[in-house]
Point group: C2
Chain length 417, copies 2
């Protein structure tokens, strides 16, 4: 459906309306709800305009395709990131069986169907834009005897001077990104997928995140983060000529099993919100280089006006400061390096020191981390005015293979190719 | 607005439509969004049917009234529970000033307006059904020299044999319950209210919870919990003759400052989900006494059919087992004791032992805990088949005063009366 990340889904389109009907049928067929109720739901839907609230629940993101879902999917209200380590002794065959089970379950769940032996947590909810995205960490390859297939691009991320990383919440053999617009649908998928890992892999770390609920604002807007900024404006757009080239490994790229795939850099970045909130709005805007209210660059215009890094104020100062986040991070400052940022906010209550344990589960997608996250973070690490208000607390890099066609599973080209 | 707890909000009604327009106006007036954009939004709204997604964001729950909001308000998708302790030396005057600030801010936020010096986190979102509910713990009264006004009903809850309570996450001088259908709106309110407590009180504990997003299912349904059960069916209904009597302190009740108020029992109840999920669906249904798929009692009928505790199967066994949760918890088994359960689910990732740290932020509302939670939990503690799958990990009891009228603040009758 929509391929524009970071904007609210559109009002019910003909496609999602078709999906709504499809879903109601599928739900009935899978016996998720009593036949009578499902029938009533489907026929009501066909008779009248759909319930104004129901497009949120009834939207299904397709599981199959060239790319996995959850990369260009519009931001979802709930997310779970899970890294798992293979059980000692798990081999390539065991890993292949796990990925096969996982793909099958993800296919069922994202269509709004219940898998066998279901916990029932998502009963009577629609798919609610559920996506499940699978990735492989560097340590996976050695453990299953596939060192020869380890992508160069999975080289460990370099150290950055401001890193304060917790190894127990970093890296991992396998990665799941679960997103949905309903908290129970997301939790349901987490439980189902975790259960299928039993014996084959155990959870290494798990993080919960959130974004705005679709419909909380009716203006199609870029998301806000917990610092209050509009975040995601200058992301590559799927309509850009070079979008695919930046974000996805080409069909004939290297290694072959990564065709249509992408690399995900995951950083848990805590925000020092108490210090941040002490800055005046003007100071905050200077740190970013954009206006807080509407995201317009300080060089003028509206949110979508291109940033003019060379613009000078009447007093001779730069309109966008030398250490402003958008200057230091911009492709123009980094030999064209760019990535697709698709984050979740997180908030895990308060720390022992009384500060909020909150910030960004920053996820950057790119065809090659050396032409995306790495050079940009090197620059930000040294010169970003925002970095005083951030703590990078965990880090991971995963190879996320392309999508699969019906009958196949994600990662099959790696594990059986 | 709606006074039916535990059901999904209705499709856009004339009232919420009026609110939508009202909100767009208020937003423009408060300068939350640039004039042009707000104008466009308002006129579009007036011209055509509202965006099908926008009722979620535009619904405002009134702050003023006989009772505080957040008690009979439909379940919200996001919740924060916060207990605070007064700063050493804080007196009645300081507490009164805090409650006055808090009420003012809650009034602004719940109408979708930004308070002074705003963090901007909720900019361009509507009120999204935000509610803020204020309560006083037993320890509050001694600290501010109001021991003579301590309600009898705030007597410490008795110990229950299965309790494994963490004192650092239990009790507290003051309590905030924040609920909203958008995660950023809820977090925004949490930050704003916490900031206003600076110097006067500090956070003792804080918990995050969630419920289904309105619209994730289009059937008006009772909520599900993380065990997969429909939960909330046999709650007292606002349409019941004795609803007010059960839930709210009467206008001429004792103490006078609690008129229109209620008592909130808060229990953090972890679910042993791994053991639970090992039970067959049939065993799970016996433990509760209701069907998992649709919540119908095992004595027959549909979700809303009255439970027949005396029903006997053909083989002579009880249709609803002797230790079934609904039997042991029912008013009929507890001399009529009843409470309004209005919970949030919680999920804080995984524990050190690998088990999910997930369950129910159980909140029970009643005019008198001795005729609500206490006798029922005494019985459940001894005889409930469900208790093997639960751990009560934290507990608190708060006196939640009635609502206030414009110009007053919540708790004024206590602090100045
Ligand atoms: C919590 C941490 C961060 C916050 C709050 C944050 C916030 C923002 C904001 C508000 C913008 C402007 C709007 C936009 O274009 O999206 C932005 C832009 C950007 N950020 Fe960040 N950011 C964070 C971390 C990072 C990191 C770690 C990277 C990459 C290493 C990064 C890369 C970028 C890029 C490439 C842009 C677009 C610059 C342009 O082309 O104009 N950000 N960020
Ligand atoms: C995690 C813990 C709990 C779970 C999962 C749970 C679940 C349920 C479920 C599924 C029902 C049936 C549907 C309904 O009528 O709502 C129910 C009913 C009920 N529960 Fe619980 N419950 C829990 C804890 C408690 C506690 C601590 C109390 C009070 C001390 C309580 C009191 C009640 C009452 C009064 C009913 C209605 C019984 C009737 O009149 O039919 N529950 N609960």
């Amino acid at each position: 459906m929509s391929t524009t990340p970071n904007t609210q889904p559109e009002p019910l389109s003909p496609i999602s309306r078709r999906r709504l009907l499809g879903t109601a049928g599928a739900v009935g067929a899978a016996g998720l709800v009593a036949g009578g109720a499902a029938g009533a739901y489907a026929s009501e839907t066909a008779r009248s305009e759909p319930d104004p609230l129901s497009s949120l629940g009834s939207t299904a993101e397709p599981f199959h395709g060239d790319h996995q879902a959850g990369i260009t999917t519009p931001l979802q209200a709930h997310g779970h990131l899970v890294a798992l380590d293979l059980a000692p002794g798990a081999d390539r065959k065991a890993a292949a069986a796990l990925l096969r089970r996982w793909s099958k379950t993800a296919e069922e769940l994202t269509a709004g169907r219940a898998p066998a032996d279901d916990t029932g947590i998502a009963l009577d909810a629609g798919p609610a834009s559920l996506t499940v995205t699978f990735g492989f960490g560097r340590t996976f390859f050695g453990k299953v005897g596939l060192k020869d297939r380890l992508p160069e691009a999975l080289a460990p991320l370099p150290d950055f001077s401001a890193d304060a990383l917790d190894p127990r919440r970093s890296n991992g053999d396998l990665w799941l990104q679960i997103g949905a617009n309903d908290g129970l649908v997301a939790f349901h998928a987490l439980r189902a997928l975790q259960r299928e890992a039993r014996g084959a892999a155990r959870v290494r770390w798990q993080m919960n995140g959130f974004n705005r609920t679709p419909g909380a604002t009716s203006r199609p807007m870029t998301a806000r983060n917990l610092m209050g900024q509009i975040d995601g404006t200058n992301n590559p757009k799927p309509t850009d000529d070079d979008f695919d080239q930046r974000v996805f490994v080409p069909a004939k790229g290297q290694p072959a099993w990564m065709a249509g795939g992408s690399y995900a850099v995951v950083r848990r970045i805590r925000m020092l919100l108490d210090s941040w909130d002490h800055l005046s709005p003007e100071r905050q805007e200077k740190v970013i280089g954009r206006r807080k209210s509407d995201g317009a660059p300080l060089s003028g215009g509206t949110e979508t006006t291109p940033v003019r890094l060379d613009k000078v104020n009447a007093d001779g100062s730069l309109a966008i400061a030398g250490d402003a986040h958008v200057r230091v991070a911009a492709p123009a400052s980094n030999q064209g390096a760019a990535m697709l940022r698709r984050p979740f906010s997180y908030h895990d209550g308060f720390r022992e020191d009384g500060a909020p344990d909150a910030g960004l589960l920053f996820i950057a997608w790119q065809a090659d981390p050396m032409k995306g996250f790495v050079p940009v973070q090197r620059k930000l690490d040294r010169g970003d005015g925002l970095s005083r208000f951030l703590r990078h607390e965990a880090s991971a890099l995963f190879a996320v293979p392309g999508g699969c066609v019906p009958g196949e599973y994600v990662g099959q080209a790696l594990l059986e190719g």
